[in-house]
Symmetry: C2
Subunit: 280 residues, 2 copies
């Protein structure tokens, strides 16, 4: 049986974990590529590295772009001339709307690019952190462009299922709207919390002793990669802005409740929050 050739462009945590998961499966031939020579040397410990980007994608059945949001489009342009007519290209970046709109206009790629977003990750990065079970049991959102042949969407879904993921097919815009609420807004709030804490600590050093487990949990995401988050904030500005404004207006009403000191109202507010959190 001919093995499926998978080119992984950008062998870091996500790409490296994909390579390990596919190796474990059998039936796949994985080839990696990284832009920088030093990254290629690190990647070589995980998967065979091609001689060039062109070599990596040539003859590939599947190409997975494991680069940051703002690098995907340039990469698509670069590889398109070397793709076979049946090659399927996917990415793993965290935003889909802007990418889908731009990718739809790229000449020569018609129907062969299916944007994907695996909800998997760690706080560490780099190929050394790779984990063959990274995708197992996690959701991957497959967000086809309008006009993508259903067969290609199905191929993308089957690929992620093969590495143990649960797959949902969403439109790119619905995807961005949902993650604005569950990922981007919390990230922003955690970072604002760190900023407020820094202000308080500048006036009062002792406040550092009042940091407990709750504060650490709440702000853990603030340690995320600044460049990745700067991309997300500029690419998903509309949805993040909407979620942020709704949140801020709610806080404004809450300020009145704080002044009113109505214990019964707080009991119900905290009771609902607790029940919903426990149901997640």
């Amino acid at each position: 049986m001919k093995r499926t050739k998978v080119a992984i462009i950008g062998v870091g945590l996500l790409g490296g974990s994909l390579a390990l998961a596919l190796k474990g499966k059998g039936g796949y031939r994985v080839v990696g590529w990284n832009h920088r020579a030093s990254s290629r040397r690190r990647a070589a410990k995980i998967a065979p590295v091609a001689a060039s980007l062109e070599d990596a994608v040539r003859g590939a059945d599947l190409v997975v772009l494991c680069t940051h949001s703002n690098a995907v489009l340039a990469m698509l342009r670069e590889i398109t001339p070397h793709l076979g007519p049946r090659t399927l290209v996917m990415d793993v970046s965290s935003l889909k709307g802007a990418l889908a709109r731009e990718a739809a206009r790229l000449p020569g790629l018609e129907g062969r690019f299916v944007p994907c977003h695996p909800m998997a990750g760690k706080e560490t990065s780099g190929p050394e952190a790779s984990d063959r079970d990274l995708y197992r049991g996690h959701y991957v959102f497959v967000t086809p462009l309008r006009g993508t042949p259903p067969r290609n969407t199905a191929r993308a879904a089957a690929f992620w299922k093969a590495v143990g993921a649960k797959v949902l097919s969403w439109t790119p815009d619905k995807h961005d709207k949902r993650v604005a609420v569950t990922s981007h807004l919390p990230h922003l709030l955690a970072c604002v919390m760190m900023e407020r804490f820094a202000l308080a600590a500048a006036r009062d050093k002792m406040i550092r002793a009042a940091v407990g487990t709750g504060f650490r949990d709440f702000t853990r995401i603030a340690a995320g990669h600044p460049a990745m988050w700067a991309d997300i904030l500029t690419l998903n500005d509309k949805e993040i802005g909407r979620a942020l404004t709704g949140f801020r207006r709610r806080l404004q009403r809450l300020e009145r409740d704080v002044r009113a000191r109505k214990r019964g109202k707080w009991l119900s507010f905290f009771g609902k929050a607790r029940a919903l959190r426990q149901s997640l």
Copy 2:
């Protein structure tokens, strides 16, 4: 050598853990008491339970009130007639300002009550969750009233050090100001996030699939006990209101930054948040 008699009023997670830690030390005789008969039966598995509240505190060298914020004052009134002249009373509730002001006016308690707040806990509660190492390495804030003899503040500090805690002596008001930033505001924000999520999920069920590890970390504290938090919100309203207003105004300015889409500004914002979070 005469053993130190410690009365623990309210043998739950905090009181039970204290009892276990003291048992391990030697030199202490621990007696517990719970208001409800069913709680007394559960407490009896951790420490000997007295025949009555009066019996528990009579002849005690130290009394530790391990009840919620809004129950401490009533308990102080109840036990004061039975305290010896050298008995030291402490509590473990999360707010100190209002309590210290009220306690200063209680007749007969002069100088013998030192409010304390251990920064230790778990999401589980009840004596069954007790852990002899709960306080080890954690901060305990000792917040004496004006007029408390320094000797009694020192006794409180020595007691917490004996169970492995690190002790800082703060004024009650500074304490409440600090925890408003590091604990109460984050709790409120996590609960508002759950409320916003509930609103979004009511319109769009699929958003639940977009909940990842980050969202779970960020909202973990929202599962805290509603009654305890309702007390905190009504007792520390001024400091929480101040912290909330500052946070909300910052969000308002941030909405403009989201619309401006300046990647460089975001890089610096996220870079600072990350560096500070990593330093905690």
